[in-house]
């Protein structure tokens, strides 16, 4: 297990190093897969645009974690579990991302996690709209989607920061998934700070080919 975490950390470090295109970018400190780097760790990257790209790549470790990406499917069926397998029972998106009659998300998911039945829950459980698909997307594609008001729910970058940093419902659930589910890396506070720093540094998008 320790060696797995170490390998994961090294992989994360490698991805962070390689994230900013062809120019040499200073290496970031290695971390375990369940952690997020602090914003201060990115100060070793002098170039502001490179720093911004590295910050988004760090944030994308949250966006692409199954706790978050499972309900941002590229299609009409959510995923579940760390293997991101199709949701069981077989539910579908429905007209408003809340399921179809008889199989609405809130037919089963409550406003909080259930201890005994292990059904995950948070207020207004539902799928992200189709245009906010993250599964199978690269960090660059996700970055471009998040910056595009036509595909981000009409949000400004300031509202994106606020949503990621302070949403108490579905975003917050990523770090409090209940049962034995693995939470998203780091904490919501750290994640919010990274997203804020990304915006402050120009909201640059990382290169197309890097993904995790």
């Amino acid at each position: 297990m320790a060696s797995f975490i170490l390998r994961l950390g090294l992989t994360v470090a490698l991805l962070a190093t390689a994230s900013c295109g062809s120019r040499d970018v200073p290496a970031l400190p290695p971390i375990a897969g369940h952690q997020l780097r602090a914003v201060a760790d990115f100060s070793v990257i002098a170039d502001k645009e490179d720093r911004s790209r590295a910050l988004f790549l760090e944030a994308s470790r949250v966006f692409l974690h199954p706790r978050c990406a499972n309900c941002h499917p590229n299609g009409d069926v959510p995923a579940q579990g760390m293997q991101m397998s199709p949701h069981q029972p077989p539910v579908t998106r429905g007209p408003d991302n809340h399921g179809v009659v008889g199989m609405e998300c809130t037919s089963c998911h409550q406003d909080r996690n259930l201890v005994q039945a292990r059904v995950p829950g948070a207020p207004d459980w539902h799928l992200a709209p189709r245009e906010m698909a993250w599964i199978g997307k690269s960090p660059r594609q996700i970055c471009e989607q998040i910056k595009d008001p036509k595909r981000n729910g009409g949000k400004t970058l300031a509202q994106i920061v606020e949503h990621n940093a302070h949403d108490k419902a579905l975003v917050a659930w990523g770090w409090s998934p209940g049962a034995d589910r693995e939470p998203a890396p780091g904490t919501q506070e750290q994640f919010g700070a990274i997203v804020a720093a990304w915006v402050e540094t120009g909201a640059e998008c990382p290169s197309q080919e890097v993904r995790r």
Binding site: P89, V101, G102, M103, S107
Partner: protein, 152 residues
């Protein structure tokens, strides 16, 4: 904690733990045993009831969610078993063991209320969460189509 809910058209006062599953409140406190316990994890649909018209799995729904809400169970689908779906269920001999059928009927009723003439895809998508170990799926679909007046 006192919780008021309206079950099958009647106001009911319950003094129960607000986290008690609605299914327990219906079966053990109110004696409405038509709704069944299957898996306890919202995976089989045997416990399906309506909450303000929405299909819910009562085995995982805390009774606090039903406070001041309108609950309809299989006992309230019709006063005398005369709901068109119940009649079609009898005419076509849909049930085998019958354990899942209250849940099947409650989901089918919600489906037809929203889509009076559902497509095959709509039937499949809406009924996908109600399992039947006897495999009566073909007869369930036939009965829904009979009531909807759509082709077999």
């Amino acid at each position: 904690m006192n919780i008021t809910l309206r079950v099958n058209g009647k106001d009911r006062q319950l003094d129960v733990d607000p986290e008690m599953p609605l299914l327990w409140a219906l079966r053990d406190v109110l004696g409405l045993t038509g709704t069944k316990y299957g898996c306890g994890e919202a995976l089989c649909g045997a416990c399906t009831v309506h909450l303000n018209g929405q299909v819910i799995r009562s085995c995982v729904t805390p009774v606090r969610r039903a406070a001041n809400a309108e609950i309809v169970t299989i006992e309230g689908l019709s006063p005398d078993g005369s709901h068109p779906l119940q009649k079609a269920w009898v005419e076509l001999g849909v049930p085998q063991c019958g354990f899942c059928q209250a849940g099947q009927l409650m989901t089918a009723a919600a489906l037809l209320k929203k889509h009076p003439r559902p497509s095959d895809e709509q039937i499949d998508q809406s009924m996908a969460g109600n399992l039947c170990r006897c495999g009566t799926y073909n007869r369930i679909r036939e009965a829904i189509k009979k009531v909807a007046g759509v082709g077999q």
